[in-house]
């Protein structure tokens, strides 16, 4: 009887401890925002960003909460569909500010970054964008961080490697005719030309559904390669489908956001696609890919692009660590101060360096290594890591 009593006591104490621990974690909340396109042609990127941030939040929540000001707080992710537009992202910053969110992971598109920066600065919100715009970050926006290395850091080594691999003679760079397309396309064009490749640029109106005229125009110049640049995944997939229909037998490239699976699917398989090179915004160790997929499954998330998920999981981890060190999630200036002090060392992205000074005039870029993916003659050769550093 006494044994039974003791066991019951121990069980009660343990249960109470657990309840207290849970209650402690529930006592306070650390809110982190996610801004990106959750619908439309670029939805894959936005959803992947949300997935990544939620994975980072779940890591802390499963460990009892995020240490903040002597308490363990539940990390709450608040996402907002900015629809790949400047006005959507500006509205997102205000909406999140009204919910006391001062740290935002995202946005993902250049128009979104243009829209969010002034509003977030006014609201004293930290943002972590992944856009390839020339003014993605800058000294005039001290709370804006860049979560991936920009084209200035990777364009040259990637183009050089593509030229060597495929003997590129001529290329057409295709992108939407807005800031989201032109900013990266112009850097890509300059870099291809710098490598002595005959380069043309083609822009299309965002929202185009049938690319047949653009395809015919591209085919007139008979290029050896076509770079789909930052076209949203849906557009890139339709372009590839229509280019193959038109009889294009050359090389596809993509110095822009992730869309490899969509492109392979649209082509009707990896063999039909033939030759393809693409930039991986960060280099994810293949051994980690399974962990990323299973982390998404574990949270019941709709599957996102593993690279984008990894980028945002890393950004989320950094944001949450900075919030923890600052002791607050509602003071963006304090969080930014702590964020700048953190070393870049992520379990999925490996070690990186703080970069951005040469390209943007401010050292607020997470310089994790990038990667270059290769499909040659219908065979996937995987991703080669490329280190980046301030030039």
């Amino acid at each position: 009887m006494a044994r039974l009593y003791c066991a019951a006591m121990v069980a009660s104490v343990l249960a109470l401890t657990q309840i207290c621990s849970d209650a402690n974690a529930q006592e306070c909340e650390a809110k982190v925002g996610v801004v990106g396109p959750m619908s439309g042609g670029a939805a894959l990127w936005g959803i992947s960003a949300r997935n990544g941030t939620e994975i980072a939040a779940s890591e802390y929540n499963q460990a009892g909460g995020l240490p903040m000001g002597g308490k363990k707080c539940k990390v709450v992710v608040v996402s907002y569909d900015s629809k790949y537009s400047a006005e959507g992202a500006a509205a997102a910053a205000n909406n999140l500010a009204s919910q006391d969110v001062s740290v935002i992971v995202g946005p993902l598109g250049s128009p979104e970054a243009t829209g969010i920066k002034p509003v977030a600065e006014r609201n004293k919100q930290v943002t972590m964008n992944v856009v390839y715009a020339k003014d993605a970050i800058g000294p005039q926006w001290p709370l804006a961080f860049h979560a991936v290395p920009g084209p200035g850091a990777w364009a040259k080594p990637v183009v050089k490697m593509a030229k060597e691999k495929f003997d590129l003679k001529s290329i057409v760079v295709v992108a939407p005719n807005d800031q989201g397309g032109t900013d990266t396309a112009t850097v890509a064009v300059d870099t291809y030309r710098g490598e002595g490749i005959d380069t043309k640029e083609e822009y299309y109106q965002r929202g185009t559904t049938n690319f047949a005229p653009i395809v015919a125009r591209i085919m007139r110049s008979d290029p050896t390669a076509i770079d789909l640049c930052t076209s949203p995944p849906g557009d890139a997939a339709t372009l590839v489908k229509q280019l193959l229909e038109a009889g294009f037998k050359g090389i596809f490239g993509r110095l822009g956001g992730a869309a490899t699976n969509e492109i392979i699917r649209a082509a009707g398989g990896i063999e039909s696609l033939g030759n393809f090179y693409w930039l991986e915004s960060v280099n994810v160790d293949p051994a980690r890919l399974e962990a990323i997929v299973s982390a998404q499954k574990g949270l019941g998330q709709s599957p996102g692009d593993s690279t984008v998920v990894a980028i945002f999981a890393a950004s989320g981890r950094l944001a949450m660590k900075a919030i923890s060190n600052a002791g607050t999630s509602s003071d963006g200036v304090k969080v930014a101060q702590e964020l700048r002090k953190l070393p870049l060392d992520d379990p999925w992205l490996a070690k990186g360096d703080w970069t951005g000074m040469s390209a943007y005039g401010i050292r607020q870029e997470f310089g994790f290594p990038v990667g270059m993916g290769l499909i040659v003659n219908g065979k996937n050769l995987g991703v080669t890591p490329i280190s980046v550093a301030d030039q």
């Binding site: 959750m38 619908s39 439309g40 042609g41 939805a43 894959l44 959803i47 005719n177 083609e202 822009y203 299309y204 109106q205 929202g207 185009t208 559904t209 049938n210 047949a212 005229p213 653009i214 015919a216 125009r217 085919m219 007139r220 995944p233 849906g234 997939a237 339709t238 229909e245 038109a246 009889g247 969509e262 699917r265 009707g268 709709s302």
Partner: protein
């Protein structure tokens, strides 16, 4: 020379798609006086119904196209009967209601199929080639369907009793109603025909291009532009304008580039409206 021929073929292909899209849009305005902002939604819905029938039920593609057409027609007729009919004379209310329906459709499709483009390929594959000129066979199917649809709508409106009744209601509803024509049956029927056409187009065109839950936005824009150019409510105008827009887009995009091509289209519509405010084949704005 080959480029010019290619541009012409592409323009006709685009025109066929645009004609299918804009016929339903102009039909609803011509008969009911309603600007249907959910038109792009029915296009999307048609695509998704066809996709679901093929991929989830495993039925053949032609069955999927029929299912999409009938499904969209049924939903459209029901929406007109139960919701739109009560506010049919209030232009602002009908605009808001159709816009609301579009948002609801988009959200339901996101919940059902997710936000990403779905993998939906046309069963008609292969390309006819001669030098640099090429025509995907799937585009030929769309062109044939378009010509059949134009002929069908023409017969329906101008050679059938139903068409006469619909035109009578469009011209003068009080008199037509006094003569015994029942708008509560004919208006849902007209709305159903138009939305069925949008669903049919979605089922035919989305496997060639792409299918995602926000594709309706750009469909509405292009349909609206064509219908304005052709003359709001004019079936012939919509068909002619669709091919004009298709050809202008193809030639300007191929010779001047994608950005200038899009600009040329807007300038064309602007110039037409300055010279002829009712569009190419439009009449004085209807009284309804």
């Amino acid at each position: 020379m080959e480029t010019a021929v290619s541009a012409g073929i592409i323009g006709i292909g685009l025109g066929a798609q645009y004609a299918l899209l804009s016929l339903g849009f102009t039909l609803i305005y011509g008969i009911l006086g309603v600007i249907n902002f959910s038109h792009g939604g029915f296009y999307m819905l048609g695509g998704y119904v066809a996709f679901a029938v093929v991929s989830k039920l495993g039925l053949p593609y032609p069955v999927a196209v029929i299912a999409a057409t009938l499904g969209c027609a049924g939903l459209g007729a029901l929406f007109e009967l139960l919701v739109l009919e009560r506010h049919i004379d209030d232009h602002l209310a009908t605009m808001m209601l159709t816009m609301g329906l579009y948002l609801v459709m988009g959200t339901v499709l996101v919940l059902a199929f997710g936000t990403e483009p779905v993998e939906f390929h046309s069963p008609v594959s292969g390309v006819w080639r001669s030098g640099r000129i090429y025509v995907p066979y799937a585009n030929l199917v769309v062109l044939c369907a378009c010509l059949a649809a134009i002929a069908g709508i023409y017969v329906l409106l101008y050679k059938s009793n139903l068409g006469r009744a619909l035109r009578a209601l469009a011209d003068d509803r009080p008199v037509a109603t006094a003569l015994g024509l029942p708008p509560k049956i004919l208006f849902p029927a007209a709305f159903g025909v138009a939305t069925g056409l949008a669903g049919f187009t979605g089922a035919l065109v989305t496997p060639i291009l792409s299918l995602h839950p926000h594709i309706g936005d750009s469909i509405l824009t292009i349909s609206f532009m064509i219908v304005i150019l052709g003359g709001l409510g004019s079936v012939v105008g919509a068909a002619v304008a669709a091919f004009v827009v298709g050809l202008v887009e193809a030639y300007s995009s191929i010779y001047l580039g994608g950005s200038i091509g899009a600009l040329t289209l807007f300038l064309l519509v602007l110039a037409t409206l300055v010279v002829r405010s009712t569009g190419l084949f439009g009449r004085q704005v209807r009284a309804a």
